[in-house]
């Protein structure tokens, strides 16, 4: 589903603050795989994810999604395959727009945004129904501005929004980093449920080693812009939580 072939990315080339963020990463991620990437700050995780999403372009190498070379496509052109959840809840939702408007935009992620009014009673009911699965009582507040909700609620809604339209790949960039432990747990659980229910191919970046241990069926350790360890499903299943902690020892 996602084929990353020998990608490099250097920021501030030739200047004193030159950073070789990603140094030749090759990864083949199969359909339905849920890949968790861990690594210290500056190991290139986020840059790699941004290159898959299209908000950062690699200096060399190629990225293929579902057999199509997308290396030169911008982020908004890759939305046909990819849905994203950002680290900051503010990045993934529009604060001043109602929950309903946010969902409407997400429901037409892969299509063009035309000059017809798409919000009708059927759509409202569909949104209420989806939101009620969260059990947060938000289904009665769909006209409320997104900005009135907490970070946890917004991240959970962003996750739901990602499957409003046809979605093949879900990118999660530290989705729980800004949340309290309880909200973080709900968001991770929601993500896991959606990924298995919709058979999504997913990449999760996290600093939470417990999450890295509990979720996903492939585990990658990155360091200095390279893949240091790559554990497949069977290897990950025999991994002990303490082994994982030792990686960072």
């Amino acid at each position: 589903m996602i084929d990353i072939s020998n990608v490099h990315k250097t920021f501030h080339t030739g200047k004193a603050n030159q950073v070789n963020a990603v140094n030749g990463v090759t990864l083949n991620i199969n359909t339905g795989e849920f890949v968790v990437i861990v690594g210290a700050n500056g190991s290139g995780k986020t840059t790699l994810l941004d290159m898959v999403a299209g908000s950062v372009f690699p200096n060399s190498g190629s990225i293929t999604l579902n057999g199509k070379d997308v290396t030169k496509l911008a982020d908004y052109q890759r939305s046909a395959w990819i849905a994203r959840v950002f680290q900051n809840p503010v990045s993934g939702t529009a604060s001043e727009l109602s929950i309903l408007d946010n969902f409407r935009l997400a429901a037409i992620r892969t299509r063009s945004k035309g000059l017809s009014i798409g919000i009708n009673e059927t759509f409202k009911n569909q949104v209420r129904e989806r939101i009620s699965t969260l059990g947060m009582g938000l289904e009665n507040k769909i006209e409320q501005p997104m900005g009135t909700l907490s970070g946890g609620q917004r991240q959970a809604l962003t996750l739901l929004m990602s499957v409003m339209d046809n979605c093949k790949i879900l990118l999660l960039d530290e989705p729980t980093a800004a949340l309290d432990p309880k909200s973080a747990q709900i968001v991770m659980k929601t993500a896991d449920d959606l990924i298995s229910h919709y058979r999504l191919t997913a990449i999760l970046i996290t600093h939470n080693l417990k999450d890295a241990f509990s979720y996903g069926n492939r585990l990658i350790l990155m360091g200095e812009g390279r893949v240091l360890k790559d554990l497949d499903k069977t290897q990950k299943s025999v991994l002990k939580q303490n082994d994982l902690f030792d990686w960072f020892g």
């Binding site: 046909a80 529009a94 408007d101 409407r104 935009l105 945004k113 035309g114 501005p145």
Partner: protein, 289 residues
């Protein structure tokens, strides 16, 4: 009575600018100063075409396209050349001064004996009331179109662009193109303001646009204060408040003149008034803490 009617008429003319500023400033979060130039451009196109006896079905699209192109250029400079929005607006505004002067050929064109929008139909025998009713219908139609636009899927994407660009891009919207389109719409509305005002006052002057952006900003800020205060999310109510804001603003200007303030100080009074509206909510918030 005539005094307030004139104020109301001016307010309605300028509400079109206020709607434009509302789109650029509130919806896209872009401080757009092209306004001064595109407002005059609208008035200039109107004067030139009216004195050449062009019909309204040519005049109106010409004004809209003129303003739209001016806004699109600002948008292009801002998004594609990555130049600060304020500077992009100032550049286009400055260039438009020459364009306007070139189109007019002189600094003032009177429009007294030409047929205009306001001689098109006779709703009332009193020319002032006639102007008022035609303006009200015109602004009403413009508001309906903008309101509908903002409620469509395209409109939601537009409103979200100024709010969370990363989200909108992730949802498949080319935000650069969206901003260019938005600034085009905003400046087309501003040009419409010039179209209306030149016909109401009966002339187009090269300097009529100077400081007009402040009037638009002031109107939007009056509306925004109420919108925030009452936590209004409805698109229709917001647009209505923007129009009322434009009228209230003209009312303040008219009252200032009426109580005998020298017109020389009018711009200063306007600036202080805008400052007051912006700062009052903050001052009262600080006191309540």
């Amino acid at each position: 009575m005539d005094f307030y009617l004139t104020t109301l008429i001016q307010g309605l003319c300028l509400s079109s600018i206020a709607l434009g500023i509302y789109i650029s400033m509130k919806i896209f979060n872009i401080p757009d100063i092209t306004t001064d130039g595109s407002y005059t451009l609208g008035a200039v196109v109107t004067a030139v075409l009216l004195t050449h006896h062009q019909p309204v079905y040519i005049l109106l699209p010409a004004v809209i396209i003129g303003g739209g192109v001016a806004g699109a250029i600002t948008g292009f400079i801002h998004t594609k050349l990555k130049i600060n929005a304020l500077l992009a607006g100032i550049l286009v505004m400055t260039a438009l001064y020459s364009v306007n002067l070139g189109l007019m050929g002189r600094s003032n064109i009177p429009l007294l004996n030409v047929s205009s929008l306001f001689t098109l139909v006779n709703i009332s025998a009193d020319p002032n009331y006639n102007t008022f009713w035609i303006l009200l219908i015109f602004v009403g139609i413009v508001t309906l179109i903008i309101g509908y636009l903002l409620k469509t899927d395209f409109g939601i994407a537009m409103r979200a662009t100024g709010n969370s660009e990363s989200m909108v891009r992730a949802l498949g919207v080319n935000t650069d193109r969206m901003k260019i389109t938005g600034l085009a719409i905003a400046n087309a509305l501003t040009a419409l303001g010039g179209y209306l005002f030149s016909q109401v006052q009966g002339f187009t002057d090269i300097s009529m646009g100077i400081g007009i952006v402040i009037i638009g900003l002031g109107s939007v800020i009056i509306a925004e204060t109420v919108i925030n205060w009452l936590q209004i999310t409805s698109v229709w109510l917001s647009l209505g408040l923007v129009i009322i804001g434009a009228i209230v603003f003209q009312l303040v200007v008219a009252i200032t003149l009426d109580i005998g303030v020298d017109p020389i100080y009018l711009k200063a009074v306007t600036a202080i008034f805008v400052l007051l509206i912006v700062s009052l909510p903050r001052i009262s918030l600080r006191n309540s803490k």
